[in-house]
Amino acid sequence: MRCTKMIHDIPLSNIPEGEICEVDHISAGRGLARRLAELGFLAGTRLTVNRSEGGSMIVCVNGQRFALSRGIASKISIK
Amino acid sequence: MNTEIRRKSIYSAGVGGVYLSFGLVQFVFSLGVGTSSLRYLNIDDNIFGGFIMALIGVVFIFALERMRRDDVEGTAFQFSGIFLSLLFAGINLLILGADLLSAALEGGSLELLGSISPIIYLGVLSLAGLMLWKDEFSLNRLSRAGA
């Protein structure tokens, strides 16, 4: 059964500081996609945006902090 | 306004103001302008020292500003201000010790009282702040590296 889903394509790099959001999908090449997934950026994972400076960010996933460059943050789409 | 927040705001304003003014004065001194009367306070003309004190002052001012909107953030800035000032106070104390040692080795001497720069003695203010709000800062949460 398919539910109608709204297409959300907000890149993580646009999410403001302090927001808690959920990962929708990752649009990246093989290696990077896997790497991100293995670090915990899976569909449905909640993350908190601790810091955002012009696209480069520090996010908190599963209690772990990561600094992401703008390039990477823009490849992670948020619901 | 909550009294605790008020207390913190006054503290931040006070400490921030002191650091900022000392820092600016030192900065001005380093540019050549001098008023000898302020030498009482051991303010020298090291431009970087002035910069650092001013920076710490700014952190406290930020704390004051944030405290009005959201006291959690305000406390965070205040804690950071305290931490930074104690850190730099400690560093300068260490340097002072080394200078004393160097002077002793070379056979010279160093005027102790005149060398205790503001960065060191203003640290007392931060120590006070640390004591007052120790619980909120829950320092025991910091763990050991390489555990």
């Binding site: 093989r30 290696g31 996609a33 896997r34 790497r35 997934a37 293995e38 670090l39 915990g40 899976l42 569909a43 601790n50 810091r51 400076e53 012009g54 480069s56 520090i58 599963n62 209690g63 772990q64 902090r65 990561f66 600094a67 992401l68 460059s69 390039g71 990477i72 | 970087f48 910069f51 650092i52 920076l55 952190v59 959690v72 406390t75 965070a76 800035f77 804690f79 950071s80 201000g81 931490f83 930074l84 560093i91 260490l94 340097i95 080394a98 200078d99 040692l101 160097s102 080795l105 070379e106 800062f137 829950s138 025991n140 949460r141 910091l142 763990s143 050991r144 590296a145 390489g146 555990a147």
Partner: protein, 663 residues
Amino acid sequence: MENDNITIALAGNPNVGKTTLFNSLTGTRQHVGNWPGVTVEKKVGTARHKGRDITIVDLPGTYSLSAYSLDELVTRDYIIKGRPDAVIHILDASNLERNLYLTIQLLELDVNVVLALNMYDIVKNRGDTIDVEMLSKNLGVPVVETVASTGEGIEELIDAALRLPKEGIERYRPFYGEDLEERISKVMDVLGGDDKVTPRFPRRWLAIKVLEEDKEVLKLLEGSEVEPKLKRYMDGVGQNTELELVNRRYENVRCVMSGSCKLSDGGMDPSDMLDKVVTNKYLGIPIFLAMMWAAFEMTFKVAEPFTIMIDKFFSWLMVLITENVGNGTIASLLGDGIIGGVGSVLVFVPNIFLLFLIISLLEDSGYLARAAFVMDKVMSRIGLHGKSFIPLLIGFGCSVPAIMACRSIEDNKDRIITILSTPFITCGARFPVYVLFAGAFFADSEGTVVFSMYLLSILMAIVSVILLRRFIFKGEKSPFILEIPPYRMPTMRSALLHMWDRGKMYLKKAGTIIFLGAIIIWVLASFPPGVEYGSGDSFVGMIGKVLEPLISPLGFDWKIAVALTLGFVAKEIVVGSLGTLYGTGENDDLLRDQLRNDPSMTPLTSLGVMIFTLIYVPCLATVAIIRKETNSWKWTLFSILYSMSLAWVITFVVYRVGLLLGY
């Protein structure tokens, strides 16, 4: 009494304290950093446990065992082929979910595993609870709580590891869901038909890798008879299957954790509070600058008493030798040659070691990770990675450990750019040259001149990066993911360890290359026999006269030519050889006077000498390490020629323009 040789491997995520554990066990010095990805080299040591010797292998820190990174490949290859008797998987107990992801993969490798729940004290402080017994039961492997920095739990850990080969426990087998499991068994059947590659690996693991389209596994199976059949299961399946497997693994992890873990609701802890300010848009960079300033102040001021002591010691030694050694030649060899040469290097040991100590403290505390983040924005404008900044920082002490630190930069282009630009950062060895010349010719503004040299070197490094990026390594800088650990109180012990790790390279250089260099110079300066030590008639003088034409456009004479040439071996030798050439030996003050009295030396030329020294050719040890780290003669030669030409051109310009301006 068994005398079998037991080997235990240490695996785990980066920053979990694996290397600390390794050090505690083996007592050897290793490098621990907050940066992901240490070296690809395997570190091996021997531990003594209850009367037995055990070989310990420290595998690189990895998040997973895929084929995407060299670290991971090295780790899994070792486990599969090296067949260690046991693998101790070290987990950061405060981050269990992500750490257990690796555990699941290890369990699939059919090797004996023991889990070390490290950083257990953080867990307790936070108020989380982990039911260790339950976890152990769920996974089917022994689990031991440890706090590696204090040594708690290490004994039980090794005991459990040693017991392993004998106990047969039912281990956890991840379940990937009906659909994927079905495909896994189908692939396993197909693989059964291959008898060359498949028997070497755990079959289920191999099947899973095939479905993931794991590069290395596919390469191995190329050309085998089962390859065409396998292709059926792989086409059109690719990335989705791979990510799905990752997903399912995490579900397995959560399943294992539920019932054995309860995580508390965290508030804002001190780390978060500090980060608000440290990574703040406006305050971040000023704070960083303040920290850097404090670090350098400390390096100079705190090292001073020690430097004075060492200086006094060598002077005393010199006097002792001149008074007691009868034979003039030997006295000269010992005094001028060895003590003069090596002593001038050792005098800087306090400075360099202190710098490394401070860098280690910053690293261990977690601040450097924030600094990298803060600096990243600035650095990307010139085309560099945030991670490049640590090697550049270390370069202020010595280029050799700095270039080694470049290993943590994953992208090859970024790495090479950083390696080639690091030598421009003025290292501890060049400092005496500035002090000498600035002291001689710019006595009033000595500090400012030296400081400007430092600024110039930073500028040169930046220019170098920009040029390399623009003309040779075109392309975008690679993306940046950096794990940011919580702030920690650095332990003196581990900081001293890292300091020693990097510092010993400097000492080794002093003990070997410089020692030999000093002797060679002494020989060249003392012969032909009867010649005045270091004069124009000695061999060293003759060499200088030959080289003179090459640098006279820069305003240098043959003595400088010699000193600079010898400086190719090690920059520390430059001052020492000048001392020899001007006949002043150890006495720097006398040398300064001599320099001033030399008609060919003017403030302008001395500026030229300082600039040339700053830019030209890296020392021999650095060249050797560049060759090793870039693995190519091409880049090594490039580095030499590139810095040499830049040095010549810039000094030429400065000198000629200076002359025009009437200096």
